[in-house]
């Protein structure tokens, strides 16, 4: 008589691979979603498909070249990365940038936040099958991209920052153009809020991907994702950089207690209004003066040995740069902690217990940016394993 089989098969359990190529994802990431029917039982996240070795590359180039390298970490928040990088270098070198430059940095920052939030809202509409809204929102976003081209010369990689200031000045004609675009976005924002309060949209977002305040804190979430769970945190307010110290009275922090995907969308729509307020305040109070140091760029390369941590509030949350210079035009170590990297920690918590149909919605609601994120996990394809670079290893490579 044969032994009775011990193994119990669960036929209803199905592992659904989401990504790295999937219509819901614009960038490569791989989820292994275990479902029973439509219910999500477990989620496993595999990053690393867009690993480009930026941090190692940065150690091979000089300080000026790295400005352009860090810009290319992200195509959506390129100004955020260069600002964060330039701030760190300026801190090591002990440079105080002109006041007008810091205002201009903040201006581009807020325009970038507006276009990034519009991008996410469009993606969110697309994820729930609302293509019409998606097209309309991205149409609005075009206005801001055109504005970038006019002000900085480029739509995506603006190259606005130099070490010690900004590259281009804002002429009065440009300022009036910026203000017109801000008016346009403000008007469109009202319509957007109505569209996202539509019943069919609400049905897809309310109660989806719930992240309680305590969980958000425990998982170290950042940015709008954290603010939608009731955490009041914003680098612009907590650790002002650029001109944000002077602009404190011109905007308020958007926090919501909704804790679900709807709240995360809502926070971003309301932040659009705050960004418009900041842009208007900057246009009103833009100080006169130089936009960068008079020093030639070739001299800015010479930075003494030292280390600095710089952080800014990217559209997706807190972005942290750690860098250490080698005293000879180069970097010994560059470490980037992007906001998406922090927010990925919350993905599993948000998804488990939800429905398969919620996966794209939850993913979009944290507004992940894969290209920014994929620099930490090492995937060893030959051995078929993946590991995370630990603190020890980082220290070893840093010295």
């Amino acid at each position: 008589m044969s032994e009775p089989k011990e193994i119990e098969y669960e036929y209803s359990r199905l592992v659904v691979p989401v990504g790295p190529i999937h219509p819901a994802l614009k960038e490569p990431v791989h989820f292994r979603v275990t479902v029973r029917g439509e219910e999500i039982l477990d989620v496993d996240l595999v990053l690393g498909h867009a690993h480009r070795g930026v941090e190692v590359l940065a150690q091979e180039r000089n300080i000026l070249q790295n400005l352009y390298l860090t810009e290319r970490i992200c195509g959506i928040c390129s100004h955020t990365h260069t600002t964060c990088y330039a701030q760190a270098i300026e801190e090591i070198k002990g440079i105080q940038i002109p006041e007008r430059a810091s205002y201009l940095r903040a201006l581009i920052f807020e325009l970038e936040r507006m276009h990034s939030h519009l991008l996410l809202l469009g993606v969110m509409a697309y994820e729930i099958g609302y293509d019409t809204l998606f097209m309309q929102i991205w149409n609005m976003r075009e206005g801001i991209l055109d504005l970038f081209e006019e002000v900085t010369g480029n739509r995506v990689h603006h190259s606005m920052n130099v070490i010690g200031g900004v590259r281009w000045d804002l002429t009065p004609e440009m300022a009036s153009r910026v203000s017109r675009v801000a008016d346009g976005v403000e008007e469109a924002r009202g319509r957007l809020q109505v569209a996202f309060m539509d019943r069919t949209v609400e049905k897809r977002l309310v109660g989806v991907g719930v992240m309680s305040r305590a969980d958000a804190r425990a998982h170290c979430l950042v940015g709008p994702t954290a603010r939608a769970s009731g955490l009041t945190m914003d680098v612009r307010r907590d650790d002002p950089y650029a001109a944000y110290g002077d602009l404190k009275g011109d905007y308020s922090l958007v926090v919501s207690d909704g804790m679900d995907a709807q709240a995360r969308v809502d926070v971003r729509i309301r932040e659009l209004a705050e960004s418009i307020n900041i842009v208007r305040a900057i246009l009103e109070r833009l100080p006169q003066g130089d936009i960068r140091l008079k020093e030639s760029p070739m001299r800015t390369v010479k930075v003494p040995e030292g280390e600095a941590v710089s952080r800014v509030e990217a559209p997706r949350g807190e972005l942290i740069y750690y860098l250490r210079t080698d005293g000879a035009e180069g970097l010994r170590r560059l470490k980037v902690r992007t906001p998406s990297q922090a927010n990925f920690a919350g993905i599993r918590k948000m998804m488990v217990g939800g429905e398969l149909a919620d996966v794209p919605v939850i993913l979009a609601s944290i507004d992940p940016c894969m290209s920014c994120t994929n620099r930490l996990t090492v995937v060893d394809e030959a051995a078929g394993e993946q590991r995370t670079v630990g603190l020890e290893e980082l220290r070893r490579r840093g010295t």
Partner: protein, 315 residues
């Protein structure tokens, strides 16, 4: 015109018409989104291109089922619309043809489901189970509405008799009584689900299940399945226009001229129905979840039963 001859003429016409209507749908959809949109002939280009592509059968699929269903689905969906159009052109029909048409429509989606689940892809399996859920929601109310038309037309099961019954009665079915109006409404809200467009494109939601049962299909197989879907959309719109809102022009006197005039009128009306029941919903709404869609169809069931009751007692 002989029914057989008409059928032979209509089969290729339906092929052209369903692609053309899909082109018009895409153009209008794009214009409403402030896009330029593809040229009207885009579905034809797509079809030709897909037909010339490599045939790929996934290793995990059962090849015979995977391949056969595509041709069967395309043939049965085109046949469905051809039967309707040829009956109208020939001015005749056979008893039970409406049942045949509904069978062919159901057959098309059943075949697509089977093909998807035979691909061995988990998305195909999810698409299958989602589609089964949707079928439970819309299929019965839809049939019940047709049954009401049949009841009103003197319990006939011939499509042509049901159409002409409206001319004889002097009024369109939809406006003939409150019960009939409700039955028409039920059929109309079932069309987006049967056609598989937003908000009810749940089985093939691209951002959720990567086109569901279509996920592994490519090349000629995908071309045939897309054609099947487009022909089904045409069939559903044509059915709704002719049976529920068709304003009978000159049906009692079928002359050579009138037949073609009628057909043209009918195709224009079908396009209007196509626009209202397929293009508009997919432009105006976001996709709902399966549970939410089924809750909606519970209401449709209720309305459907009420309308049946009303029609039965003569309202």
């Amino acid at each position: 015109m002989n029914v057989v001859v008409a059928l032979a003429v209509m089969f290729p016409s339906v092929f052209v018409l369903s692609l053309l209507y899909s082109g018009i749908d895409r153009k209008l959809h794009a214009r409403m989104q402030r896009r330029v949109g593809p040229p009207l002939a885009q579905p034809f280009y797509d079809f030709v291109k897909l037909m010339n592509k490599e045939r790929i059968i996934p290793a995990s699929a059962s090849p015979s089922v995977f391949v056969t269903v595509t041709a069967l689905a395309a043939a049965s969906s085109i046949l469905g619309a051809s039967v309707l159009l040829s009956n109208l052109a020939a001015g005749a029909g056979f008893v039970g043809d409406i049942i045949l048409v509904m069978y062919l429509v159901l057959m098309t989606s059943a075949l697509t489901m089977i093909g998807g689940s035979s691909s061995g892809n988990p998305y195909g399996a999810i698409g299958f189970s989602r589609r089964v859920g949707m079928l439970l929601g819309y299929e019965v109310p839809m049939l019940l509405s047709l049954l009401m038309v049949s009841y009103r037309s003197g319990l006939t099961l011939s499509y042509y008799d049901m159409v002409t019954a409206q001319s004889l009665g002097g009024t369109v079915f939809m406006a003939s009584s409150p019960g009939a109006a409700l039955a028409s409404l039920v059929f109309a809200v079932c069309i987006p689900a049967a056609a598989g467009v937003v908000p009810f494109d749940i089985p093939e939601a691209k951002t959720e299940v990567a086109y569901g049962y279509l996920v592994e299909y490519g090349g000629p197989y995908l071309g045939l399945l897309k054609l099947a879907k487009e022909a089904t959309n045409l069939t559903l719109s044509l059915l709704f226009f002719t049976l529920f809102v068709h304003v009978p022009l000159a049906f009692p006197m079928v002359g050579a001229y009138n037949v073609w005039a009628n057909l043209l009128f009918m195709l224009a009306g079908t396009l209007a129905v196509y626009f209202v029941t397929i293009t508009l919903p997919r432009t105006l709404f976001a996709r709902v979840k399966l549970g939410q869609a089924l809750r909606f169809y519970v209401w449709v069931w209720a309305v459907s039963l009420i309308s049946a009751g009303l029609v039965m007692v003569g309202y």
